[in-house]
Amino acid sequence: MFRNQYDTDVTTWSPAGRLFQVEYAMEAVKQGSAAIGLRSKTHVVLASVNKANSELSSHQKKIFKVDDHIGVAIAGLTADGRVLSRYMRSECINYSYSYESKLPVGRLVVQLADKAQVCTQRSWKRPYGVGLLVGGLDESGAHLYYNCPSGNYFEYQAFAMGSRSQAAKTYMERKFETFTESSRENLVKDALFALRETLQGEKLTSSICTVAVVGVGESFHILDKETVQALINEFEIAGEEEAPANEAAPQDQGGDAQAGAADQGPTDQGVAPMDI
């Protein structure tokens, strides 16, 4: 994607019918570190790679509990993600207050999408630069949705976003048909495997990833470090086994190759400080 004369304003169409500012916002999502989600009939698992700016700093929080039955993983501008998480929590609690019952995931996601759309149609606003993986449970079962800066949302069986997410997608594409009937343990295992794909050889330990689960009879919660490390050890995922799926890696969007090159790049250290 290159600069052109139609990309200054979100309210300017290009002659080809594109809104470049919205597309640039979606690029921001691709620059964030990976986050994946998968669901079975009864559970949803969200997992993310937590990169810290330096060894001295703490990890950026990428997975948020929204309500007992909904959680969200973000990628891109984490500040935008935090603000949207707060909005989601607010909507959930207001609904519970009025109706004494859980806000259906599908409705929350539509409200979120409509909120994002507003920012694509006001000259004094900018689109949210964050992709959200919303996982939750309601009367109609387990759901996983992806909300993007454009205001679109889709429901998924499994999804990955952020840098090197294509590797995770490829892994999940091979296995997604088993997810619906999967047990909770296997679902978490698949999430860890998929996450490992995005690390491209780096060792998977619980200190660089976060895993969260929500399911029937199980409130949304983030698994603690010990549990995750035990699971990693148990499944012997740590990285000794070289996963075969890396041939597809070049398919990563052009932006990703640039991110790879810019890792040792001039000023930014690859990822802009506001994106993790």
Binding site: Y99, V110, S140
Partner: protein
């Protein structure tokens, strides 16, 4: 939900009072309905209410439907001020409309509607401008039966059998004795009719024209109006003035 119209700037005195149009606040009821009684039974909920609208001590209106459906899963029965009940029906209509506009397979069940009504009633009470009603909300969703009540001060609860007004005093003791969770439809109707008959004898605002409504997972029906048989031929009622010499 309900948006308040903007109010005039409050004076020092009215700061403690409602901010709503001060022309219409603290009310007294005008046209009122009397008791509503409801029970859970094997397949769902049964609600009974007569069709009277009293104007003070005058039994003025005899064709008032005090039980109405709400969406697919619930029924509402109301006692108290009829005009406030009509207002509540408009609120519920708007609520259910917005709910179905989502068009997403989700729908508000009886629990949600009951809680919504509780919020409305309690909020009005806090503004010293109550909706002068006692409401019963019953329904079935996904096989789960729900029966609750809420009144003008916002007191709300659920139970296997509920009643409003005089029903609390006359019907609920009967229900406490004779209700069980495996009542068939016929047994449930007989039980409600027994309670309604007591109310007919003893409640001055009762009229002998009632409807019984049922709601199950399949849907609802509200019966056509009908009357209860009553028995007045008691010896003690014959020659009522015998023994009463003179006046007083």
């Amino acid at each position: 939900m309900i948006v308040d119209s903007s109010s005039p700037a409050p004076t020092k005195n009215s700061l403690l009072l409602s901010s709503e149009a001060d022309l219409q606040r603290t009310q007294t009821p005008y046209v009122t309905g009397t008791s509503v009684i409801a029970i859970k039974y094997k397949d769902g909920i049964l609600i009974a209410a007569d069709m009277g609208g009293s104007y003070g001590s005058t039994l003025r209106y005899k064709n008032v439907e005090r039980i109405k459906p709400v969406g697919k899963h619930s029924l509402i029965g109301a006692s108290g001020e009829i005009s406030d009940f009509q207002e509540i029906l408009r609120y519920l209509d708007e609520l259910m409309l917005n709910d179905s506009m989502w068009d997403d397979g989700n729908s508000l069940g009886p629990k949600e509607v009951h809680n919504y009504l509780t919020r409305v009633m309690y909020n009005r009470r806090n503004k010293f401008n109550p909706l002068w009603n006692s409401l019963i909300l019953g329904g079935v969703k996904n096989g789960q039966k729900y029966l609750g009540t809420v009144n003008m001060i916002g007191v709300h609860y659920e139970d296997n059998h509920v009643a409003t007004g005089f029903g609390n005093h006359l019907a609920r003791p009967i229900l406490r004795e004779e209700w069980n969770e495996n009542l068939t439809f016929e047994e449930g109707v007989k039980l409600l009719e027994k309670c309604m008959r007591v109310l007919l004898y003893r409640d001055r605002s009762a009229v002998n024209k009632l409807q019984i409504a049922k709601i199950t997972d399949e849907g609802f029906t509200i019966s056509q109006p009908y009357s209860l048989k009553t028995q007045w031929k008691f010896k003690a009622f014959e020659n009522p003035t015998v023994g009463a010499e003179g006046s007083w």
